[in-house]
């Protein structure tokens, strides 16, 4: 039965490939190395991860996106390192003013410093992205992994449940769900995204667990009487984890974009939380007169999302031997 492509289509395009490539250091050590390719005896057997790492170290896309992400993490932990002002301190008299000394990005509609707000916005986006991804990855791979491992009724149930969640358009679901929430913290948004996001990871995890389960050495371990928990932890999990990591990294970027979209629609984060989405939404009313208010947070948002997507993409390419 054909599976429809889900919304993680970058991952989706490679998901089939990513699923059967799974192998890790732990398992390569157990495998007898050296096929009939006849690589000289002096060469060490190379594992998938060390091969991938060798590729990644030379990949400029990987290096640049990692540096951008490192920078984002640092400024979201310590925004005052590069921004001395207070993002909530605004002066209406300066509303919509352009760039000036000490305030390179100018002021927004409320007269707040756009530079300071853009810097502080990173914290919100990174928090939302990381928390959502952790929640989605843990819950999704737990449910998907179990369904893939035990199969049968659990698997059928999971398929139907994921179908239900895929049936609800994300932005629409967000509007309906979040419009009734009054809290101004980031948690309802994160909660909602985990609620709608986990089936995607569950599908990937299920697929890669099923693939891993069919590997000969896993079958052999089963025949030798390995217990279920030992099989899952020692043989299957290490093989199934690569595709989940790749998809989750890419998804992290899309979650940040989704938060901004929901905030733009007025149902995501609410002031006084500092968020790029809120600022872009506010600035879109003044787009004709003062586009700078929109361009800076929008640029920061795009670069952040791009960094995560590129990182995931680079890792996937490195892990997928078929594309070499």
């Amino acid at each position: 039965m054909p599976e429809p492509y889900d919304d993680g289509a970058i991952a989706g395009t490679g998901a089939g490939g990513a699923m059967d490539l799974a192998a890790s250091e732990a398992t390569t050590l157990e495998r007898t190395p050296g096929g009939p390719q006849g690589t000289g005896p002096a060469e060490k057997p190379r594992s998938l991860w060390s091969d991938a790492w060798r590729d990644l170290r030379r990949n400029p896309v990987f290096i640049i996106s990692s540096l951008v992400i490192l920078f984002l993490v640092v400024i979201s932990l310590w925004p005052s390192l590069i921004a001395s002002g207070n993002p909530l301190q605004c002066d209406l008299a300066k509303a919509q003013e352009g760039s000036q000394p000490g305030h390179p990005f100018g002021y927004n509609g409320q007269g707040c410093d756009v530079y300071t707000r853009t810097v502080y916005g990173a914290r919100t986006s990174v928090t939302v992205g990381v928390c959502t991804t952790l929640g989605v990855a843990l819950f999704g791979s737990f449910v998907g992994g179990l369904a893939g491992f035990f199969g049968g009724g659990w698997d059928a149930l999971l398929s139907r449940v994921t179908d239900i969640f895929f049936g609800i358009p994300v932005v629409l679901g967000g509007l309906v769900f979040l419009s009734v929430v009054t809290s101004s913290t980031v948690w309802p948004v994160i909660g909602f995204m985990i609620l709608l996001g986990w089936p995607q990871i569950a599908r990937i995890a299920r697929g890669s667990v099923i693939t891993a389960k069919q590997n000969d050495y896993v079958q052999a371990a089963r025949a030798l009487g390995a217990s279920n928990s030992r099989m899952l932890l020692r043989h299957i999990a290490p093989n199934a984890v690569a595709p989940v990591i790749v998809v989750a990294t890419i998804a992290l970027g899309t979650y940040i974009a989704l938060e901004a979209t929901l905030s733009y629609l007025g149902v995501g984060l609410k002031p006084p939380t500092v968020s790029w989405g809120i600022d872009i939404s506010a600035a879109s009313q003044y787009i004709r007169n003062a586009p700078h208010m929109l361009l800076w947070p929008a640029g920061a948002l795009a670069i952040t999302v791009l960094a995560f997507i590129m990182l995931g993409d680079a890792v996937r390419d490195a892990l997928d031997p078929k594309l070499r």
């Binding site: 009939p36 390719q37 006849g38 690589t39 000289g40 070499r324």
Partner: protein
């Protein structure tokens, strides 16, 4: 002479360096003659054939030198469009795995009639009639009914017959069959080989039969060229090579065929693995695996010695091999 390959050299660029797949191969085929090219995987036997057909992947492949004379013309000097017109009509190829080599989403009728509509400018209707005729000729039962079916609806043997029909369609003067029976059941193998030999006789075609299976060769081939690490190591009329091989590698191959009169004895196997094509051993490429290797084998590349008028061996000790 129908086909003459002279000093052909083919290289592949890989991530880890240049692999020399073919290092100066010479062989020839006359009309009505069958040449069996023998060798393990990676010996360069398929690459040579692909170079003759002009279907090498370039890049990463590159023809580094040599000539391919077909009916007196050097194919390597022709323009791509001229070569294309020769492919399919003057020379044709049969591949190992018919299931993956036939297009899964086109009916066999469409794939057969394409030969006539493209090369001969026939109408689709005439092409289809020709397709049915061809299927009859390779003895596919109920050809008229099955012409609209897809490759997966045929059995392995029938699929290979369709491959043969496709190759025979325009009555080419040369057929290259790359392990045509390897993927088939043993009982079907003989039928397919017989069909191939019969059509060859009927149309007086030259046939290059690429195989790693000496058992297949004995009945159909006129002469044998054994390849190792991109070179021809022995070339001889088929009955002579069976009587007394003049190269340790061919000898090893012959001794590893199970024989009825040696029941109960341990089967001989050539020790070691074929060399890595990026690090071909100095001297004779076979020396690390050769039971007769001397110092000279490790330092000098053996030329082709004339053993008899139409027989050559690339071994310094061909006399000893022949006698022992």
């Amino acid at each position: 002479m129908l086909l003459e390959v002279r000093d052909l050299q083919v290289e592949f660029k890989t991530r880890d360096g240049v692999a020399k797949a073919v290092n100066g191969v010479n062989y020839s085929v006359e009309a009505g003659e069958t040449l069996a090219v023998l060798g393990e995987s990676g010996s360069g036997k398929s690459v040579t054939a692909q170079a003759v057909m002009g279907i090498l992947d370039m890049p990463p492949g590159r023809i580094a030198g040599g000539e391919i004379l077909f009916q007196g013309r050097d194919l390597l000097k022709l323009k791509e469009d001229e070569r294309r017109k020769i492919r399919g009509s003057e020379m044709a190829m049969i591949f190992q795995d018919a299931l993956s080599s036939l297009n899964p989403v086109l009916s066999v009728g469409e794939q057969l009639s394409e030969m006539f509509t493209v090369h001969r400018g026939m109408s689709r209707k005439d092409g289809k009639a020709k397709a049915v005729e061809l299927m009859d000729r390779v003895r596919i039962p109920a050809a008229k009914e099955r012409v609209g079916q897809y490759p997966h609806q045929f059995s392995g043997g029938m699929r290979q017959r369709i491959m043969i029909a496709m190759a025979m369609a325009l009555e080419p003067s040369l057929i290259i069959a790359d392990e045509p029976t390897t993927a088939l059941d043993v009982t079907v193998q003989a039928q397919v080989m017989d069909l191939l030999a019969e059509l060859q006789r009927e149309l007086n075609m030259g046939l290059i039969l690429i195989t790693h299976d000496l058992g297949v060769v004995a009945d159909v081939a006129d002469k044998i060229a054994a390849m190792y690490a991109g070179r021809i190591v022995e070339q001889a009329p088929v009955h002579e090579i069976y009587k007394a091989p003049a190269h340790p590698y061919t000898k090893g191959l012959l001794e590893s065929i199970p024989r009825l009169d040696q029941k109960g004895q341990e089967l001989y196997a050539i020790k070691g693995l074929p060399p890595n094509l990026m690090h071909i051993p100095p001297g004779c490429a076979f020396n690390p695996r050769c039971p007769m290797a001397q110092d000279i084998c490790r330092s000098e590349v053996p030329p082709l010695f004339d053993v008899a008028p139409d027989r050559q061996s690339a071994c310094f000790f061909w006399k000893e091999t022949l006698d022992g």
